[in-house]
Assembly symmetry: C2
Homo-oligomer: 342 residues x 2
DNA sequence: GCCCCGATTGTTATCGGTCACATTCATGGG
DNA sequence: CCCATGAATGTGACCGATAACAATCGGGGC
């Protein structure tokens, strides 16, 4: 009548009983409260082990008004960038002892973001990271429910929320300057979708670099990240004779472009140089291997988490720079070379 | 002294007070309990709206011993397959009213999987989905802590846990039969890593199809999913004169192979046909566009969730087949054609 | 007209922790 | 030798919901 088959998991009381202390003392041990005698602490820890006790996160969160879970609002994680960012955040969170809960958005509009954050808030997440690469989403970040600590990734107009992102402008500059140094007169640009912030920043960086060098700025070609749009732009460029260098806003577009150029008999890099952005795993194995700009998504994840923890009043992990702009780097491969001699 | 600036979110008692009922009645309304008068229900719902009340998921989970969160153990979500699977699960979960919590694994060994599931169990998830494409992980699934409902994806030896996966053997058969129908004598195979179940099944399917057709079975080429391994295998094949068709275990390997063949002046599909697996977004824009086998990851997600809900004793969503093997489909593009005339 | 029953609603315990405060005990200053 | 002090520990309230059970009310059967 009093003994049970012990089917369910141990709770704090079981540990207390076994260790011969009160449940509160167990709680103190679990949270490294200073005033617990060493001998007592060890007795408790022994009981914890013996029962294979794991504190219930729900109860902890409910009582302590802080959970060890971080919410992530993500979008289009099939794309390499968002997927890698998500993974970087998960990794950083895990190291800091946090779990992560995700909500993927189908469309990135204001109400979607707000709704997603609400769903996460319902779960009492400690804070949220919003991967908001679109202008619309960035705007939404301003109208979030108060009281939820939030940081935003890949966005630079998120009201007063802390923002972490790769320095897209610098990335574009790396690409353009690389091509100019090779001797190209000017560099064309196949942009990403206009409502993506990263796309906008890369356009800005591209234009600024050309202007700084006093070069002619060709019209911007419009793309949508897809290989198809790169392919179409490639056909267009192949028609003209005056293009020697193209900077594509991402690697998939560059891939489509390589295909179009190849189809038209335009040689890369002999006739036209192509540079991409992202360094997707395939980049090194395209024909020809793609020169591209690499982004350090793990670093983005680390800085996000550091910023969020700071907002939560927890110590920042050591060694993570506070600067919100993560520097990208150029990876030179075979798709870029000097312009054809005339 | 009694009025507060109402800074914090409303809780069930606030709703009860405003609606003039007990908190229990509010709870009944929230959970569609039948015996609540319509008039009362409406009054409560009005109060809910007015206060913008959202029930606290932690408290709910604690009291009701069931949370509306599903845990996902994932691995290598940079790869297209795992990323798409994760997204499919998230989508299905969201539709069923569940949130998802993820733990990404760095290595897919037994203790890693067990630890991950424990971390999720700590959060009292309703159940877990383990994306376990490796043999080691599948084995681990057997030694999970009891009491956590779990289903496994892309694995077929998970003890007695329900398993959902794409029918890899059928996929391989589609690829091989397509090539044989085109007139090829036999089909070579560039496999994935030996410890991946999907890789093993694709090898099995490839071999079985060839044997069923009474064809010679060439030696298996070893790959590791990377474009590099495809590239290396491609160089090797280019050396031999007798290869007319290759079935690559994934699109990235096919990509590397296309590059190697192109470099060696081997024309695709005139000299050699290449078929991939996955239908990554880039596949349609390679040179030439890649014939490949498409997997329906959304369907995988839906079936996973349906199986898990069934385990939880909740109604299966309607219209989701119970069958654990999701059929893949062949996407024919330009990389496959008849063998060269001799 | 009385009693039983089902529909509706309220009261109290409970989930598994943390927090605030009380209690106990040994120590050291006056 | 007494009391203030602080370290170590225990007690009970509480977080915000659901579960179990009690209470109330109106109507049908005898």
């Amino acid at each position: 009548m009093s003994q049970q088959p012990a089917a369910r998991a141990a709770v704090i009381k079981d540990v207390a009983r076994l260790a011969g202390v009160s449940h509160q003392t167990v709680s103190r041990v679990l949270n490294d409260h200073p005033s617990v005698r060493d001998e007592t602490r060890e007795r408790v820890l022994r009981a914890v082990q013996q029962l294979n006790y794991r504190p219930n996160a729900l109860a902890r969160g409910l009582a302590g008004r802080r959970s060890r879970v971080i919410g992530v609002v993500s979008f289009d994680t099939i794309l390499h960038g968002p997927a890698a960012t998500l993974l970087g955040i998960e990794r950083a969170a895990r190291h800091a002892g946090y779990g992560i809960s995700i909500v993927a958005l189908e469309r990135l509009d204001r109400s979607g973001v707000v709704e997603a954050v609400n769903r996460l808030a319902e779960q009492s997440v400690a804070g949220v990271v919003i991967i908001a690469p679109l202008l619309t989403a960035a705007a939404a970040a301003g109208s979030l429910p108060a009281g939820v600590p939030a940081v935003v990734v890949e966005s630079d107009m998120a009201g007063d929320l802390p923002t972490i992102s790769v320095d897209q402008v610098a990335g574009a500059r790396l690409a353009v300057e690389h091509l100019l140094e090779l001797g190209h007169e000017t560099v064309w640009h196949l942009a990403g979708p206009k409502d993506w912030l990263e796309a906008r920043d890369r356009v800005d960086g591209w234009r600024a670099s050309l202007e700084a060098a006093g070069r002619r700025v060709p019209p911007v070609l419009a793309g949508d990240w897809s290989p198809r749009s790169g392919y179409e732009a490639g056909r267009e460029l192949a028609e003209r004779g005056d293009v020697t260098a193209v900077f594509c806003a991402n690697d998939q577009q560059a891939l489509g472009m390589l295909r179009a150029l190849h189809e038209r008999g335009v040689r890369v890099p002999e006739d036209v140089s192509v540079v991409g952005f992202d360094d997707i795993p395939e980049a090194a194995y395209l024909s020809p291997p793609l020169t591209t700009v690499r982004q350090d998504f793990d670093e983005v994840g680390r800085r996000c988490l550091a910023a969020l923890l700071e907002l939560l009043g927890v110590d920042r992990p050591l060694g993570v720079p506070r600067h919100p702009r993560v520097p990208p780097s150029l990876v030179v491969r075979a798709s870029s070379g000097p312009p054809p001699a005339r």
